[in-house]
Amino acid sequence: MNVDKSFLKLAAQSLAESIDQRSMVHLARELIPEFNLAEKVSMPGSLDVPRFVIAKQIIDDMQEYNLLIPFLNIFFSIHYKGYKGRRYKISRFRELIVALYDMGFSLDSQTGKLYEDPQFRISRNWGVLREGIDYTFTFLWTDVMDSTGLVKNNSKSSTKKFYESYHSIVRKTVESRNGRIWLVEGDGILSAFHFGDHTEKALYSGISILNKIHDYNRFENVLSDAVGLRLVVNSGSCTYFEHNSAIKETDAVKKTIQYEKATLPGTITVDSLIAGTIGGVLEQVLHPVKTDNALDYSSYAFSWDK
């Protein structure tokens, strides 16, 4: 990521004015464990290294290793979550946020984390997640019912047209709620949500997709029959990987896809742990389903009734 020098200077000033030398180095070691200040800064041992020099060195290194945004997230966390039992006020915070906004990053008000603004760019890791690190996600799995029959009973062009519409509906719905499409396997689409109230965002995405497919069936459907979808919403801690093959092997994703078997057409299956934490309108429209095995869940569906 190319960053303007004036921004690097601003970030270094903010860091230097907000915390002491030792804490700065500790923060840097969260991302670069081998970070060694003495090697980096050539100052006689008898003299204290000025705070700004250390801060500038850290910021420059983070930029060099492409870790600037993750480092700023750690830096901002001392304001939102605190550091070693103390909350810090971040100097020049407003200036930083404005400059970051111009660079295409927004601050998530709930988590205090930076993420790339979808208006500027949409990347798989929101521009900030790092490979091999555990994060909490909510996953939305979307799958088309009886896709074999769909392909068999319709012309190639109709099938292609449907899949274009289906993928577009899911992508627009998910990305408008700051979710990301991680995996597309034929009919199955795995979306991930991480920022903000990601559970709600995933659930509302699912409901919106069902409504849009309902309208698609009525207004646009080019196929011989109505299309049915099965959706699953599940949440959990998961290691972030850039590659789909590794993502598919994580427990949280496996469990999400496993729920599909229990899901009826036109229904969203919601993991019981999520359902237990949801309130308000969503709680009113989710209904618990008891099963013989340990896989209890809740479900959402709608029907028209006289």
Partner: protein
């Protein structure tokens, strides 16, 4: 088979000379001026042809609108001067035949009418859609939508009434301040959607709003918008408005004539159709549903027509209600 031909032109009458009585055809000729009076007496499953050459644009629209509100006939438009612009819309709205200058160069072939009869079914006595004792609406169309609508003058408007229900229960549960703020947000959200569809706010009360849409050849967009408000109730309540409960709102859509007044002066508007919509809103038994009056049955999009079911008549107007959504 009887054809009711509304025309003042003797020349046109000659074009029907091949429809002989011996072949079972009867041609009843009436002046277009007698259209509304005669219409109520015409038996179901008759052919009605309207010659539009001597009629104004507003008169044509009124008559066509009346026709499409009564689906138990076959209709044809005769346009000897090729003046009608949007011919496709006639067929979209359920008119079965359009006869232009070209077709009138020779006598009309009875086979043409026979073909329509076999192509399009007619159900005699389709009383469900006919208004009972309500005067036919004289459509007053603005030439260019809002651009040519003048304050104080009467026009035909599609009116969309929206009210948030169970206000008292909400106030008891969440307090006055929160409820008022929630209802106000709902109103702002709905206003934005209505504006995007070319609607304008005419009246606003605590929990009620009334939007106007200039009458168009096809008013189905307004009905689709209202249908989407109902379909997306969970998203609107929970995600958009952050309401703690699923909001319940009633929507009534009705076509009628009203003088156009801005929101500030709207309280002074005297209009039967405005009174009607408020009467319905105050007394309708099932709140929180979407209703369409018979004035707009023909504008319910075909794709969602099956979701609308018969509702009790109101002040002589047949009504349809969108089915309820169960979660």
């Amino acid at each position: 088979m009887t054809i009711y031909l509304f025309t003042n032109s003797k020349t046109l009458l000659h074009k029907f000379e091949l429809f002989s009585e011996s072949s079972g055809w009867v041609i009843e000729v009436k002046s277009p001026k007698e259209f509304f009076d005669t219409f109520t007496k015409i038996p179901g499953c008759s052919f009605i042809y309207l010659d539009i050459q001597s009629l104004s644009e507003d008169e044509i629209e009124s008559m066509i609108h009346h026709m499409i509100g009564h689906s138990n006939y076959w209709y044809g438009i005769i346009d000897p001067k090729n003046e009608y612009q949007n011919i496709a819309s006639l067929f979209h709205r359920g008119i079965s035949d359009y006869i232009s200058k070209k077709e009138l160069t020779s006598p009309l072939d009875p086979q043409r009418v026979e073909t329509i009869r076999t192509w399009k079914q007619c159900f005699e006595g389709d009383g469900e859609e006919s208004a009972d004792g309500v005067q036919p609406l004289n459509i007053i169309k603005s030439k260019k939508g809002w651009d040519t609508i003048e304050k104080g003058k009467e026009y035909s408007f599609v009116k969309v009434f929206i009210a948030v229900e169970e206000l008292l229960e909400m106030k008891n549960s969440y307090g006055y301040k929160y409820t008022n703020s929630l209802v106000s947000h709902f109103h702002d959200y709905v206003s934005l959607i209505m504006q995007q569809q070319n609607g304008r706010l005419m009246l606003k009360d605590t929990n009620k709003s009334l939007f106007l849409f200039p009458y168009a050849d096809d008013n189905s967009k307004v009905i689709t918008t209202a249908y989407l408000l109902m379909l997306n109730r969970v998203l609107i309540s929970g995600e958009v408005l952050r309401s703690p409960n699923l909001l319940k709102y009633t929507v009534i859509i009705h076509l009628g004539n009203t003088p156009y007044l801005t929101q500030d002066e709207a309280g002074l508007a005297v209009s039967d159709s405005l009174n009607f919509i408020f009467h319905v809103a105050n007394t309708i038994p099932e709140l929180g549903q979407l209703y369409v009056t018979d004035t707009l049955f023909s504008d319910i999009p075909k794709e969602i027509e099956d979701l609308f079911i018969k509702a009790p008549q109101y002040e002589g107007h047949a009504m349809k209600r969108l089915m309820k959504m169960n979660f």
